[in-house]
């Protein structure tokens, strides 16, 4: 599926936002991904053309960042943190249950194209470990059971609310928000009381850092 003319036009719109057009490459790649579910040669060439840089330069960026996918993602991107803390607190078990429930694997989509799994790195949400992301929205404190439940709900077409964020849409919609982050959906509070509990106690007790 080639990049449409309207997407190219939107790419130009993004490029115009920056004093140096080249800075627009990251959101432009997200836009390409919102249309094609992955970064294709066509998407790379479209970015290169709009920014008047070479496809190799775009490829260098697109292959460096892991959020740009070289395989079709399908409807939903599911990330499971399997770094040390989340992994120990159940992330690995969550991963196993999702692999079983979806038939997908790391950076691979399920056979029905509904879910694409990825072992992700630390999302800075260790207070809510283990965390899972659905189309890059947080699902905090998941268990193997609750994670599979999310999958089942999405499969049934039910509305699923992110723990700290909006209702889940789909991968393409999220990628579009990443390209045009001014739709208000990125503004949900991402920090809650639990994450600030330690700071609260420190303040109450007048604790300070070593050299502060």
């Amino acid at each position: 599926m080639p990049i449409s003319d309207s997407t190219r036009e939107q790419m130009r719109e993004i490029a115009a936002r920056y004093p140096s057009a080249r800075s627009a490459l990251l959101p432009m790649l997200h836009l390409a991904q919102s249309e094609e579910d992955e970064i294709t040669t066509d998407g790379i060439n479209a970015c290169a053309e709009v920014l008047d840089i070479t496809p190799a330069e775009v490829t260098a960026v697109a292959t460096f960042y892991t959020m740009y996918k070289r395989e079709r993602v399908g409807k939903h991107h599911i990330g499971v943190c399997t770094n040390t803390l989340c992994g120990l607190l159940g992330g690995d078990a969550v991963w196993d249950s999702l692999v079983e429930a979806t038939g997908a694997g790391h950076n691979t989509a399920s056979p029905d194209g509904e879910f694409f799994l990825e072992r992700i790195e630390c999302q800075a949400a260790c207070t809510h470990a283990p965390v899972m992301t659905v189309d890059w929205e947080f699902m905090d404190d998941v268990t193997p059971g609750s994670a599979v439940e999310v999958i089942e709900s999405l499969r049934r077409g039910e509305s699923v609310q992110a723990t700290r964020g909006p209702a889940i849409r789909d991968f393409q919609a999220t990628e579009r928000t990443l390209a045009f982050p001014d739709d208000g959906l990125a503004d949900a509070p991402s920090v809650d009381d639990k994450m600030l509990a330690g700071l609260q106690i420190a303040k109450e007790r007048g604790m300070t850092g070593g050299n502060a």
Partner: protein, 799 residues
């Protein structure tokens, strides 16, 4: 490696010296010096892979870690700018530095294969050498090394073995910073980081071979050289490039009387450390399809002859024609060979009918060359381009026609030099020089030069401004006159840049009617006397001014010339009938190393040496002599000068025939300081200015095309740019041109794919001059600046 000053820095007097201490030794260095350079100045060698003096620092490989007093962690010396009083401790005086370097080396070797015994780089490999000098002797890594499919093509010529790469980013920085072709990039991340290209766009650069030479490991190789030799088995000879007038220093490596590769040699004043892919890879022609024995035409067929017989037949034939002989010297001649041709013509045959311009030319150009260029000292050098505030290019496409000029102009443009080009559009090369096109219809440059925008004219009046005019200007009436007027009125320096390596040297050697060696006018009594004396003749023995260029051609076609002596011309450079016309002559002698359109109609063919078989001198566009030595001392062929010496002897005349003797004679003549031939301005030819033809043809020879000296390397040929016709969208619309165009001239037509170019002016179609599917002179019968008609065509459509 080359040490250069930072761009824009005053070369002569460093503005301010600061003192740094390296391993306890103090040295004064200019402000802004990198620690690794300061150490080099003291002869202290810090290991490095990514560091290269001509590339921006990147500190990618970390091999050069040193300890700096007062800084908690080791720092990369290649990116550390020194400050006054800085104390730097290298591996020679610091355990911290030594251990840091050993650690880095161990990391670099983790994934590096142990295939040195079969690797092309083995024996000249910085990784191999520095692993020995600053690494641990034993690896502690026992796991499997990273593996990649090997090799991959980053272009048809350049191969990449990714597992050998240490991610130093020299090749990618070269592509981006030097060549301006950022099609080679570091892809992926972490342990998977690798050099690569986009999926559907190869590393398309005329300078791609340099990446092989600066790769500090064996990751980049050429299809031509890969697995052909080991460096320690090769014999290396410094040489000069014969492919264009850029004047590159090269190193030619050979083994068992066969050239295995050529490298760019280090010449900071000329090619720095770079050369183009033609200079690097186009050498197989020297060892393929060569003429081995003299040939004599008998009953219409060429037959093999002995040297004495062939010399005898050639000498008698030329003697019979005497003054009615035309001597055509190709643009590939060395100074010494060109000198021998003109001396043979004037002293033995008694004719001044000689011309080295084996291509489109004009009387206006003759006057320009005789008055402004021949035998003049260097007026503009490469370094002047770097410091010039403004450079104006006229009828000149440096990337194709003089690639090292292009590299230097691109370098200059990165530090503020403004480049303007009078042409039909903004070419890829001009874009890379951040240049501005001053639109001109091909053939109408004179009008544009006469009415340049005021800001450009003012810029040219600034001190240091340069005008560079290409040899194509000869095909555009009035251009050289306008260029001379512009240079005189603005004070800008003027440089003439021919395409071929031998042209400037041939001009200086006197291989042009009316112009004796050193630019001496043939009509000047002092000049005639000194030349006659040097040649052991009376002044009256020297010929009166003869014919050249169009006049000589007319004389040939009208039967006023009866014989020709032709040395190494490229028929594709000539307008069609110039070579054909030779067929009507009574007698043609061709000195050649390969069969050509000229040998096909010659009566005697005398094989001569190629550059690897002789020594000699080229003169680059600056006027700088580029002497080179003989690669193969056991060569079977003599040079043109040697063969001409034999011909002279057969006619009981002696003339110097060795490089040593010719150089000695040229040395005795010395430079000419007398009066010069005055420049005669040309009036614009109104017939040529007629624009009733449908569109004008813009055309030049691409760097890589069907040139005879590029034969024999299919990998190089595969990196040539595709043959397309370029035109503006307006032109395409006017003639309803779709994907393909049919271009028709008086001699025939070509059908080519169309590339629309919004920068081009209307009413022009551009094609390559001598590429696959489009040989302009042969196929169209006209050349640069002429009117052609265009019409829509379909792919592969019939006539």
């Amino acid at each position: 490696m080359t040490i250069t000053n930072e761009p824009g820095a005053d070369v002569a007097v460093p503005s301010e010296l600061i003192t740094v201490i390296v391993d306890g030794v103090a040295i004064g260095v200019p402000k802004g010096t990198l620690a690794i350079r300061a150490a080099e100045m003291l002869g202290i060698e810090i290991p490095r892979f990514c560091d290269h003096p001509l590339l921006d620092p990147v500190a990618a490989c970390r091999a050069c870690l040193v300890e700096i007093e007062g800084v908690p962690k080791p720092q990369p010396a290649c990116a550390q700018v020194v400050s006054d009083g800085m104390q730097i401790k290298t591996q020679f005086s610091s355990d911290v530095a030594r251990e840091a370097q050993e650690g880095v080396m161990e990391f670099l070797l983790l994934n590096h294969p142990l295939d040195c015994p079969v690797c092309d780089k083995g024996g000249e490999c910085p990784l191999q050498n520095q692993a020995m000098s600053v690494g641990r002797p034993e690896s502690r890594f026992t796991l499997d090394k990273r593996e990649f499919e090997k090799p991959i093509n980053v272009s048809a010529q350049i191969l990449l073995d990714r597992e050998r790469c240490v991610s130093c980013a020299r090749c990618t920085r070269f592509a981006d910073q030097i060549a301006g072709d950022p099609m080679l990039e570091l892809l992926e991340r972490g342990a998977q980081q690798q050099v690569g290209t986009a999926d559907d766009e190869p590393f398309d650069s005329y300078f791609s071979g340099n990446t092989i030479q600066i790769c500090p490991v064996g990751a980049l190789t050429s299809a031509t050289y890969r697995f052909r030799a080991r460096p320690f088995d090769l014999v290396s000879v410094p040489t000069a490039c014969e492919h264009c007038a850029s004047g590159c220093s090269l190193r030619t490596d050979y083994r068992r009387s066969t050239i295995t590769r050529r490298l760019a040699w280090d010449d900071p004043e000329v090619n720095e450390e770079w050369n183009c892919d033609k200079g690097r890879f186009a050498f197989p022609y020297m060892q393929q399809g060569r003429l081995e024995w003299p040939l004599i035409r008998e009953d219409g067929e060429l037959r093999t002859a002995s040297w004495p017989e062939a010399i005898d037949v050639a000498a008698r034939g030329l003697q019979a024609a005497g003054k009615d002989t035309a001597v055509l010297v190709g643009g590939r001649s060395t100074v010494e060979d060109a000198y021998a041709y003109q001396r043979f013509a004037r002293a033995v045959l008694g004719t001044d009918n000689i011309d080295f311009r084996a291509r489109a030319n004009s009387a206006e150009e003759h006057s320009f060359l005789a008055s402004r260029v021949a035998g003049t000292p260097v007026q503009v050098e490469y370094s002047d381009l770097e410091s010039a505030p403004t450079v104006l290019l006229v009828s000149f496409e440096p990337e194709d026609e003089s690639p090292i000029v292009f590299l230097r102009l691109r370098k200059a443009s990165r530090t503020g030099t403004r480049v303007y080009s009078v042409g039909s559009g903004t070419t890829r090369g001009l874009e890379k020089m951040a240049g501005t096109c001053i639109p001109a219809l091909p053939g109408r440059e004179a009008d544009v030069l006469a009415s340049l925008p005021a800001d450009v004219r003012d810029a040219l009046a600034e001190p240091g401004a340069v005008i560079m005019v290409g040899e194509r200007a000869a095909a555009s009436s009035g251009t050289l006159t306008a260029v001379v007027e512009l240079a005189e009125s603005t004070g800008a320096a003027l440089a003439w840049v021919p395409r071929r390596a031998g042209e400037r040297g041939a001009l200086d050697a006197g291989a042009l009617a009316g112009v004796l060696p050193g630019g001496r006018p043939l009509t000047d009594a002092i000049a005639r006397n000194s030349i006659a004396q040097a040649w052991g003749l009376a002044e009256s023995d020297l010929p009166r001014p003869g014919l050249s260029g169009v006049e000589l051609h007319d004389a040939i076609t009208e039967g006023r010339i009866s014989a020709a002596l032709v040395g190494g011309v490229e028929p594709a450079d000539y307008p069609l009938d110039a070579v054909e016309a030779l067929g009507d002559l009574d007698f043609v002698v061709s000195l050649e190393n390969h069969h050509s359109a000229v040998t096909e109609l010659a009566d005697v063919v005398l094989p001569v040496a190629v550059v690897s078989e002789k020594s000699g001198t080229f003169v680059d566009w600056e006027g700088r002599p580029r002497p080179f030595g003989q690669v193969f001392r056991d060569a079977m062929m003599g040079s043109d000068a040697y063969v001409l010496g034999m011909l002279a002897s057969a006619l009981d005349r002696a003339q110097p025939s060795t490089v040593t003797d010719i150089r000695a004679e040229l040395g005795r003549l010395g430079p000419w300081t007398g009066s010069r031939i005055p420049f005669e301005p040309a009036r614009v030819d109104s017939a040529q200015a007629d624009t009733t033809g449908e569109v004008r043809l813009d055309s030049w020879r691409l760097l890589l095309d069907l040139g005879v000296m590029q034969e024999g390397d299919p990998h190089l040929a595969a990196t040539a740019r595709p043959t397309v016709a370029r035109m503006s969208p307006g032109t395409a619309q006017r003639f309803a041109i779709g994907t393909h165009v049919r271009i028709e001239g008086p001699g025939g037509f070509v059908q080519l794919p169309v590339e629309l170019d919004e920068s081009m002016i209307d009413g022009v179609v551009w094609t390559p001059m001598n590429s696959e599917g489009c040989r302009v002179y042969r196929d169209l019968g006209v050349g640069y600046g002429h009117a052609v008609s265009i019409a829509p065509a379909t792919e592969g459509g019939s006539a």
